[in-house]
Structures are given as structure tokens and as C-alpha cells.
């Protein structure tokens, strides 16, 4: 599979944007300037970037509580997500979501689920709709290793397999379910082994390697689109930060963290690759990183300068009424 130089640079920018965005947001939370729940995806940027890059615009993406990367990769603006975290009217959900339940209907990304595994059934229904409508779209369901222990996972994969639905289940195995190491929450070595219980392909890949992610996703997405049915793709990564912004991970061995940070930081890895291939040079990297820094800085200022939502609208759209269709 040949991937153009421009595409590679774009993907590098996406990953860098996610990292800079989340570094900045995490700092804001840790400085006590924002409250609420913030789950960053440090170390998982290659998954978001590779998966989204492998999709077509019509494909539906169901994100989760650790979802900034998914949205940023699809093109949701950093300023609208930061404004959302500040509870402002310019946010993705006009202040109704915060970091966890982001929605971007323009990019066919319905509400992300803050319930672990909660989107797996809903995403399966989206694939059922595609199956019934024959609309050629593939649905992606993102979830973590922890979510593979919940009943939704089993019920949905069984149903999708039975009905041969066009869906790809992407497990971002970051090796921790909150503070519990994976070995302490499930005995299986590979999560993808579970796919055999549903007679669907199950693949485990290095989720820190962008090109591997991209190529692997493309394969199973194309297969689903052609009527081949669902697949489970396990992307092994390491959650380079805590479960949420305030969590410094005292339950994890320092040595383990250091090793992953040094050897398996997906952005560092891809940057080195591109430098080696002479697609990037140090000056270009500096320029790109500088631009992104500036973009995020402006996004924060945009959020700070934005208005609060209007209190009188607080109960609007609890229900969708006919006049909303007009």
C-alpha cells in the first residue's frame, strides 16, 4: 500500500495536534482552572489518526469517553472542543457535554458514550441501519480493553456476526481499565481471541504504529463494506498518562511507564520514520509544531472569550418535537 507524502504529513499533523491539544487541556485541569472529567488519549494517537484516515466521509464513528483524538482526527475543531470543556455556547454541544459526550453530526459522529462499552450496542444498530438501507457505510465502534468485559460487547458482537453487519469494532487496548492492569481484569492474552467466539476475524496489531493501524483498518473496513461482515481489531498501546487528568498513576511501575514513553510513543516513532524517509526535516517539524501550538493557544483564548450558554435554553431539546425538523 503506497501512501502519499502529503497524506503522511497530514497524519503526522493530526497526531501532533491531538497531543498538543491534550497536553494543554490537561495542564488547564491540573492548574485547577477547569473542573470536570477529562480523559486524555496520550499514547493512542496513532489509532485515532489511522482509523479515521482509513474511512470514507459517510462512515459513522462512535467514540467514547477518551475520544478527543477521534474527533480531532475527523476534523472537529480544537476550539469547539475546548470551548465545550469550558461549558461555553460555542462548544461542540453548547456546554451540555463537557469532555465526555462530544457530538459532531457534520462529521457523522453521534454522541460519544461516557458509559464504558455503552456505544457498542448503539454502533451495532447503526450498522443494522446501513444493512437495511444498503447505504454502503461502515460503522466504527471505539472502546477500550475494559469494555470487552461488559455484556454489551458480547451481545453486540454476537448479533453483528449473526446478521453480518458492516461494522468494525476497534479495541484500544491501553492495558489499563481505570487503575486496573489488564492482567487483573481478564485472563486472555489477546483480546482479539474473543472474535473467534463470534466467527469473525480478530486481529491484534501494534497500535503505536500508524501505518500498521491505517493498513489494518483499511482491510477490515473494505471487507465490511463489501459485505464481508464485522471484525474485531485490537490495537495494543499504552495509556501514557493517568485514567483522568488528576490521576498521576501511582499504581503503575515507573519503569513500565518510562519504557513505553521512550520506546512506544506513537508520535515520536512516526516522526523518526518520516525524518528517515526525508519526508520531514527538523525545520519542517518545528514549523508544524509551532503552528499547532499557536492553533491550540488560539483555541483556548477562543473558549475563554466565548459566551456562556443562555440559561433559558436549558430544557430545550430534552425531546425532539416536530417543529425542530423545520
Amino acid at each position: 500500500m503506497t501512501i502519499s507524502k502529503d497524506k503522511k504529513i497530514r497524519m503526522f499533523k493530526t497526531m501532533s495536534r491531538i497531543r498538543t491539544f491534550e497536553d494543554r487541556l490537561q495542564k488547564i485541569y491540573r492548574d485547577g482552572k477547569l473542573d470536570g472529567h477529562l480523559h486524555t488519549s496520550h499514547g493512542q494517537e496513532a489509532i485515532a489518526t489511522g482509523v479515521i484516515e482509513a474511512l470514507s466521509d459517510q462512515d459513522i464513528v462512535f467514540s467514547n469517553h477518551r475520544g478527543h483524538g477521534h474527533f480531532l482526527a475527523r476534523g472537529t475543531s480544537p476550539r469547539s472542543i475546548i470551548a465545550e470543556c469550558y461549558g461555553k455556547v460555542t462548544g461542540t454541544n453548547k456546554g451540555r457535554s463537557g469532555s465526555m459526550y462530544i457530538v459532531d453530526t457534520k462529521r457523522v459522529m453521534p454522541v460519544a458514550s461516557g458509559i464504558v462499552g455503552g456505544n457498542i450496542c448503539v454502533a451495532t444498530g447503526s450498522a443494522l441501519a446501513s444493512h437495511l438501507k444498503k447505504d454502503n457505510a461502515v460503522t466504527i465502534s471505539f472502546f477500550g480493553d475494559g469494555a470487552t468485559n461488559i455484556g454489551f460487547f458480547h451481545e453486540s458482537l454476537n448479533m453483528a456476526s449473526l446478521w453480518n453487519l458492516p461494522i468494525v469494532y476497534i479495541c484500544e487496548n491501553n492495558q489499563y481499565g481505570e487503575a486496573t492492569k489488564r492482567e487483573e481484569h481478564q485472563k486472555i492474552e489477546k483480546i482479539s481471541d474473543r472474535a473467534s467466539a463470534y466467527s469473525m476475524p480478530g486481529v491484534t496489531i501494534d497500535g503505536t504504529d500508524l501505518m500498521t493501524v491505517y493498513e489494518s483498518v483499511k482491510k477490515v473496513v473494505d471487507r465490511a463494506r463489501e459485505g464481508g461482515g464485522p471484525a474485531l481489531l485490537e490495537c495494543v498501546v499504552y495509556r501514557l498518562r493517568g485514567h483522568s487528568a488528576g490521576d498521576v498513576g501511582p499504581y503503575r511501575p515507573k519503569k513500565e511507564e518510562d519504557e513505553w514513553n521512550i520506546k512506544y510513543d506513537p508520535i515520536k516513532k512516526f516522526k523518526e520514520e518520516l525524518l528517515e524517509q526525508k519526508i520531514l526535516n527538523n525545520q519542517l517539524v518545528e514549523e508544524i509544531e509551532g503552528e499547532i501550538e499557536k492553533e491550540i493557544e488560539e483555541a483556548v483564548n477562543f473558549a475563554l472569550d466565548s459566551d456562556a450558554p443562555i440559561a433559558e435554553t436549558v430544557s430545550k431539546y430534552v425531546y425532539r418535537e416536530e417543529e425542530d425538523n423545520e
Binding site: 453548547k94 450496542c121 454489551f152 451481545e155 425542530d324
Partner: protein, 323 residues
């Protein structure tokens, strides 16, 4: 107009809506071959893609209905007994109910979940007999419908299918074989409009679902002594408070009968909503009847102690007029 059973009225509504809109489809456990039969026969006309038997997976049935609805389909999911809905509770409460709100109305979830609830010697015991609708009145984002006769069942189910929100549609098991006049042509009944099932002057008797029949019978039996107005709210969300308040202002007496356990039940909610407006019109304290705060026991002898019965309704009415 012809007489048909409640279950047949439901089937008419499903058939008509499936003919009208190709996005409507039904799914549930064994819906083509087992159970109470609302979907029976639909597969012959619409095929197995639109009439889907599912694995025993309530979370995936409900959740996939949510996902399909988000994408423009109009699923009508059947849960075989309302008790089983609890397995899919997250998908209703945390997913379906939140989509419109969190997306500022950009997303909608036009889905219906149908489920039988209640008992009166159906022999199901603790996990197949409950009346759970009160729980859902406490969840913003869901509409709640409990029709009490075949005419309402057809008209309300058609409205439910056309509604852009998640609708829970609860049918009392005893009602399925009840007969009533049902027009063969297309009609809908709007949500939030109570039905005055019998006019009266002395007592406002609010009754839901299977309790409506009992209440009407009691009203007939007592007609020479007490003039009873029987009102069926038909939809609990939205609730037609105005019709109830207007009636209570006229009668000065209120009794609410619903099969939910009384603790935290809709009976108390209806009474509170009415009292805020009509407290000074009351001749007698408002009263409520529901199930005891007890699981439904299997034995016929025990069950009737727990659930509301015609006798209990009559006794309470006579109590209200005893002084």
C-alpha cells in the same frame, strides 16, 4: 368499524405503519413464532429483514434499536416481558434518552419499545409480573404510553411510531385478549391527551392500563350512589394535567389507581401535580391505590393481596364517601 382484540389492534397499527414507511421495522425475541403475538404474521408480508427475530440479548436489542433510530430508521423493539427491559436499562436511560439533548436536537431517536407488564393471575411471579412504568417517568427524554383498550392501543402505537423520540409503550398482559371497536382506517391519538372514559360529578378516578376496566365496572356498580368520573391519562409522559385538574376542581375528590407499587409510584406524582393547583377545591384528602411494596408472589392466593383489584378500588371509594 369492527370489534377486535387489543393484540390485533397493535398488529393493525404495526402493519399499517410498516406499509406507510419503509423505515419502520420490528425486532425482538421470537416475534414471528412465540409470545403474546402482536407481531405474528407480519413476516409474511414484510419479510425477515423487517421482522427480525433476535438472540436473547435485551441490551443489544434496545441498543441496536437506538443506533438504527439515530440513522433514520424507526425500529419497534419488543421486549418479551417488561421485567427483561432492565437488562437494557443503560441503553434506554444513558443512551436513548440523552441523544437529542446532548446534540441540541441535531440527533433524534425515533424508536418504540413495546413490552407487556402487570399481572392478574398470569402465573409469572416475581420476575415476569412487574409494573415498572413509574421508574421511567423519572427519566427525562423518554415518552411513556400505557393504553387501556384496543382503540387507544392502535391510535397511540401509530403516534408512537411516528414520534421522533424514544417511546416506551407498555401493554398490560390482561388487555391483549380484551375486545373493542377499532376502525380499520388510519387514525392516530395525540400524546398528552387524557381520555375521559366516563363522566361524573362526585369523584375523579384516575386509572391506567388494566385498572381502567376495573374502575369503569366499579363506577357502573356504584352509579346510583356516587357519580364517578373515570379518566385515563393514556400517556404518562407527556401527562395531561389540565384535564385531570379540571375534573378534580369539579368533583373535589381524587383517587388514583395504578398497578405500580405505591412507594415512589406515579400515583403520588399525579396527586402532587394536581394538588399544587386544586388543593383548596378538595372535599376529602386525595387517595391512591397501587401494589403493596412487595414483590409479586407466585401463588394466586398471595398475588391478589399485593396487586390492586376491583374490590380494593370499590372499598377505597366507599371509604372516601363514608363520612
Amino acid at each position: 368499524m369492527s370489534k377486535c382484540m387489543y393484540v390485533e389492534a397493535l398488529r393493525m397499527a404495526l402493519r399499517e405503519e410498516m406499509r406507510r414507511d419503509k423505515n419502520v421495522f420490528v425486532m425482538g425475541e421470537d416475534i414471528t413464532r412465540y409470545g403474546f403475538g402482536a407481531n405474528r404474521g407480519l413476516v409474511d408480508e414484510f419479510g425477515a429483514e423487517r421482522v427480525r427475530n433476535t438472540p436473547i440479548s435485551e441490551a443489544a436489542i434496545i441498543g441496536s434499536a437506538v443506533g438504527a433510530a439515530l440513522r433514520g430508521m424507526r425500529p419497534v423493539a419488543e421486549i418479551m416481558f417488561v421485567d427483561f427491559i432492565m437488562i437494557g436499562m443503560d441503553q434506554i436511560v444513558n443512551q436513548a434518552a440523552k441523544m437529542s439533548y446532548l446534540s441540541n436536537g441535531e440527533l433524534s431517536v425515533p424508536m418504540v419499545i413495546r413490552a407487556p407488564e402487570g399481572t392478574e393471575w398470569f402465573g409469572g411471579g416475581a420476575q415476569h409480573s412487574q409494573t415498572l412504568h413509574s421508574i421511567f417517568m423519572n427519566i427525562p427524554g423518554i415518552k411513556l404510553v400505557i393504553p387501556s383498550d384496543p382503540y387507544d392501543a392502535k391510535g397511540l402505537l401509530k403516534s408512537a411510531i411516528r414520534d421522533d423520540n424514544p417511546v416506551l409503550f407498555f401493554e398490560h398482559k390482561q388487555l391483549y385478549t380484551q375486545k373493542g371497536e377499532v376502525p380499520e382506517e388510519d387514525y392516530t391519538i395525540p400524546f398528552g391527551k387524557a381520555a375521559i372514559k366516563r363522566e361524573g360529578e362526585d369523584l375523579t378516578l384516575i386509572a391506567t392500563s388494566w385498572m381502567v376496566k376495573h374502575s369503569l365496572e366499579v363506577a357502573e356498580e356504584l352509579k346510583n350512589e356516587i357519580s364517578i368520573e373515570v379518566i385515563d391519562p393514556r400517556t404518562l409522559v407527556p401527562l395531561d394535567k389540565d384535564t385531570i385538574i379540571k375534573s378534580v376542581k369539579k368533583t373535589g375528590r381524587l383517587l388514583v389507581v395504578d398497578e405500580s407499587p405505591v412507594n415512589g409510584g406515579i400515583q403520588g406524582e399525579i396527586i402532587s401535580a394536581v394538588m399544587e393547583e386544586s388543593f383548596w377545591n378538595m372535599e376529602f384528602p386525595p387517595k391512591r391505590i397501587g401494589s403493596l411494596n412487595t414483590p409479586i408472589p407466585f401463588s394466586e392466593y398471595l398475588e391478589k393481596e399485593v396487586i390492586p383489584t376491583k374490590e380494593k378500588i370499590k372499598k377505597e371509594i366507599l371509604n372516601i364517601f363514608s363520612s
